[in-house]
């Protein structure tokens, strides 16, 4: 049975009296895999932050699993991979294992000490992402691609129902990127995990995601790739080239 995991209605977010987001309404169900695309500064990351309750909208409503996002408590259902943590201190003395364990906090009761089932979950995700051999390494010693896999491990260690990824493939080389998207595809299909992924990789997203959300401060398009690629209305709105870039590898 498919459950509504995100519901956004008439969302508006302003910063310094300027509309960063307005007239945004859409919903996401379990099993959906949505590519969130749009030009730089179009409000993609802000939209994710509003959805997650990290910033408050000026108008409208966001519901997560039927609960208002400002009162939301079931964080164990959500995995979040922020944009390449810009503030990541390369000298922070934390190991891969310690970082992944932080992803389990939402399902723990105080004092939130780790137990055997937590260790099993960490072990399983280390294998899934092929990072077991770097478990005891410090995060600052790793390459960008390895760090990205560690943060993805933190996001999925809880086996969430909804996975929110903000530009996850930026630091990855083409081969790792391919494996990354394949993994997302299998999580989506095998576990029915809803995925929303912000990406500039418009040439690739059509191969993996089932729906497209095109944002430019307003929601310009939300629907299936078939609708996006077959519509003359879309050609008029985005131009033939833009439509072609997104659609050409979707077959």
């Amino acid at each position: 049975m498919s459950i509504e995991v995100i519901s956004v209605k008439n969302l508006r977010f302003r910063y310094n009296s300027l509309d960063v987001l307005s007239e945004i309404s859409f919903s996401l169900k379990t099993g959906d895999y949505i590519g969130l695309v749009g030009p730089n500064g179009s409000g993609k990351t802000t939209l994710l932050k509003v959805i997650l309750g990290l910033v408050r909208p000026d108008e409208g409503e966001v519901r997560l699993f039927g609960q208002n996002s400002t009162d939301f408590t079931q964080w164990q259902k959500i995995g979040y991979l922020p944009q390449k943590p810009a503030a990541l201190n390369p000298h922070f003395p934390v190991t891969v294992g310690e970082i992944i364990a932080l992803g389990l906090l939402s399902r723990k009761k105080y004092p939130r000490h780790m137990n055997r089932s937590d260790e099993a979950a960490i072990s399983s995700v280390l294998d899934l992402l092929d990072i077991r051999d770097i478990r005891d390494r410090l995060i600052g010693e790793l390459s960008g691609g390895q760090q990205q896999r560690v943060f993805l491990a933190r996001a999925i260690v809880n086996d969430p129902d909804l996975l929110i990824l903000d530009e996850p493939s930026t630091a990855l080389d083409p081969e790792t990127r391919e494996r990354f998207f394949a993994l997302m595809g299998s999580l989506n299909k095998e576990k029915n995990m809803a995925i929303i992924i912000v990406t500039h990789d418009t040439g690739n997203i059509g191969r993996f995601a089932s729906k497209l959300l095109y944002l430019d401060k307003k929601l310009l398009f939300f629907g299936s790739f078939e609708d996006f690629c077959g519509s003359t209305e879309i050609t008029r709105l985005f131009g033939e080239f833009s439509q072609h870039v997104i659609c050409h590898r979707h077959d």
Partner: protein
């Protein structure tokens, strides 16, 4: 006189017991402060402590009891200035710090000038610590260490990535308030050990020393604690045997260990 002779003195025993607990407390909290780039909050709150000690002396009350609530209010003030009024963190610390010093100087002036007691808080007097102060220091240190241990994962999460920690269900605003309150309590408890002028050294130096050699977050805290306790014990004993100021001796030992940490890192890096 050898070390065993020193240890027979009650005031030395009291100094070492209270000093060790406070060293543990400062080093543990210090790791979080340094990694959150909040090192100087200790300095700012220490200056606020100066003002509060002057208030206590004006009304002839115990500096510890007067300072704890005042410095806690200052700590929350710094937090609110940054969160609600968007004042930069270092500027907010500067505001509270200068206000604390100004208040201290003004009150001391009204009370008839600086006296010996106030200087003992400025530069520390761990060897004059009373039995009651030992009980209070050990008791409150144990409480703060327990709270830090209870919220260890939340604090690590916020320190590493505050945004992601919110999505892990950590109540970040509440946790930040708790964190600055614990810092305030720690600063007040430490004033007798190294003195108001040197408190930030007890918070910062063991943490930065540990950061040179640690291989995980847990080991950072363990090494910082070890460095801090060793510094307080050896600094106290050195000061007593060589008749040097205790607070300054503790800081110098801390600095020597930090230098050794830097050399170790350099040697390990070139190996």
């Amino acid at each position: 006189m050898d070390i065993t002779e020193f240890l027979k003195y009650g005031f030395v025993q009291r100094a070492l017991i209270a000093g060790s607990f406070i060293a543990l407390l400062c080093s543990t909290l210090g790791v979080f402060l340094v990694l959150r780039r909040l090192s100087l909050i200790g300095d700012g709150l220490a200056h606020a402590t100066f003002g509060s000690v002057a208030v206590a002396m004006l009304f002839k009350m115990s500096p510890l009891y007067v300072s704890i609530p005042i410095v806690m209010i200052c700590a929350v003030g710094i937090l609110r200035l940054t969160e609600k009024f968007r004042v930069y963190g270092d500027a907010a610390i500067g505001v509270v710090s200068s206000l604390g010093i100004a208040a201290g100087v003004m009150i001391s002036s009204v009370a008839g000038g600086f006296n010996v007691d106030l200087f003992s808080y400025l530069f520390g007097s761990i060897l004059s610590i009373s039995l009651t102060e030992v009980y209070i220091s050990v008791g409150l240190s144990a409480v703060v260490l327990f709270v830090l241990s209870f919220f260890y994962h939340d604090l690590l999460s916020i320190t590493f990535d505050e945004e992601a920690s919110k999505v892990s269900g950590v109540k970040t605003e509440w946790m930040n308030t708790l964190f600055v309150l614990l810092t305030a309590l720690t600063v007040v408890l430490s004033m007798k050990v190294v003195g108001i002028m040197l408190i930030s050294a007890l918070l910062i130096l063991p943490a930065v020393t540990a950061l040179q050699v640690s291989k995980s977050f847990r080991s950072t805290i363990a090494i910082a604690a070890l460095v801090s306790v060793v510094s307080v014990i050896s600094g106290t004993l050195i000061s007593f045997s060589l008749d040097l100021p205790t607070g300054a001796s503790i800081v110098i030992v801390n600095f020597v260990l930090f230098s050794m940490g830097l050399l170790y890192k350099r040697a390990a890096g070139s190996a």
